[in-house]
Symmetry: C2
Subunit: 302 residues, 2 copies
Amino acid sequence: MNENGILPPSYAAACGRERAAKLRPPEHQVAGHRASANKMGPLVDGSGLFYKPLQAGDRGEQERAFYEAFSAHAAVPPRIRDAFFPRFHGTRLLPTEARPGEPHPHLVLDDLLAGLQAPSIGAITWPPSSPEPYVAKCLAKDRGTTSVLLGFRVSGVRVLGPGGAVWRPERPELKALDTAGVRRVLRRYVSSVSGEGADCALAAAVYGGEGGVLSQLRELKAWFEEQTLFHFYSASILLGYDANAVSANGVGGGVRVKLVDFAHVAEGDGVIDHNFLGGLCSLIKFISDIVSETPETPPLAP
Amino acid sequence: MNENGILPPSYAAACGRERAAKLRPPEHQVAGHRASANKMGPLVDGSGLFYKPLQAGDRGEQERAFYEAFSAHAAVPPRIRDAFFPRFHGTRLLPTEARPGEPHPHLVLDDLLAGLQAPSIGAITWPPSSPEPYVAKCLAKDRGTTSVLLGFRVSGVRVLGPGGAVWRPERPELKALDTAGVRRVLRRYVSSVSGEGADCALAAAVYGGEGGVLSQLRELKAWFEEQTLFHFYSASILLGYDANAVSANGVGGGVRVKLVDFAHVAEGDGVIDHNFLGGLCSLIKFISDIVSETPETPPLAP
């Protein structure tokens, strides 16, 4: 292993020299541990790469193994891989503030928010539900959230409003959401007003239309109705759009729908992932209700 | 309450006089308790009605309440109610062999197998998965079956083969099935040979084509993607076809796809039933794989 970790040599050579100067915690993280003096957390390089520290125990190794298997799997349609997953660029040993002198392996992935000037982000997380014994424990934990009832929970939101105002509910607040609360947060995510109001002015542009969240989720769903390769327990969907672009144009706005967090992915063994698919259909229903209730074009300012 | 129980008077008057002579345990039952000298079980009248004893505890009352709510619910599309559910004709007090002198209330439902000369039947059961505390217990119970992994389990099969041969695996055998075993049973269900072989000669006629199991399941799925009225924990889908008709005609054959067993239905409260829908998609995938693998018309006899 060289100073660039176990990254493919050609890639490492191209990027290695610029590395140290640029790495920093991502500005827009909404879920997971943040990097600090005491804790390892993800880093970005500002030119499109995201470095995720390999998690402790089996989880890190399992996530790495998933990325390797998934990246190379002949049965994964390239369109699905490109549209809905971060690209995997191998692993790299990096120094960390938390443990000086002990470089730690990081997964090198696409920075999913690169190119968005004012990213508004949402993270939706799936319950663990494998047939292993730890299910009962996880179920008990999830009973406090909407996971069991809705098939998913909202695990992070960060909305950039007009004038740079940020709406970012705290994690305990998100964990305590009931069904009505989840609906409110999903409406607020596509609203142009600051504070607690929800005009859903961006719903048509972000959720609806060609390339919107809804059409992307439906494409993902069509794959999940067929694919029996992987079961994505505890994975998340990251939603992102560019609050600047979407306000300016009314349509488009760099809408992103990406799967992340694969420490608990299991082999599908010829069976579809009905756990993920059920929650995905549930999320689609919430979002399609919001699109149906709101006008196709944002209302004109009075 | 009169001698006919709480059935609507007009209906009771029309049917009451013929009742006692004709009631008998159904010949083709594949799951649930059978009526005997010691146990109450369902009865049929041979002219299209099925009498299901109200279950003990809350379950009976909950099932009755579901049928009443469902039958009258303005938001249930009539096509869905007619195609996929037994019609509910109220309840009726009936004498039982198990408890002489103590008439017991029965749900009066359509006999879903009426009109099939040689019914081949399958029962597919969904796991309980409500957010109530009994989930963990049920999960443990289900871990012995395919419920957690596949989202459903095969709870009963009875296939009428050529010359009247019957294939009917025992319940412990069905409970022990793994994924490959479920696939084998679903193939055997549409095979014309007797014994353990599976030629899938009836797959195109029973599973495929217009009005086949697959197209009916997909119609049901489309409803489940939208409906937020009910969550069908522990319900079953009853599959039926007429082994005589399907052999004779090659297509058609009275294929039936019906939901039954509603003692654990809960209100949807604006959320889709992702638990049922996920298992339904899983079942659809198994069956569509069998249809894809088999020729459209049954092979000619050599």
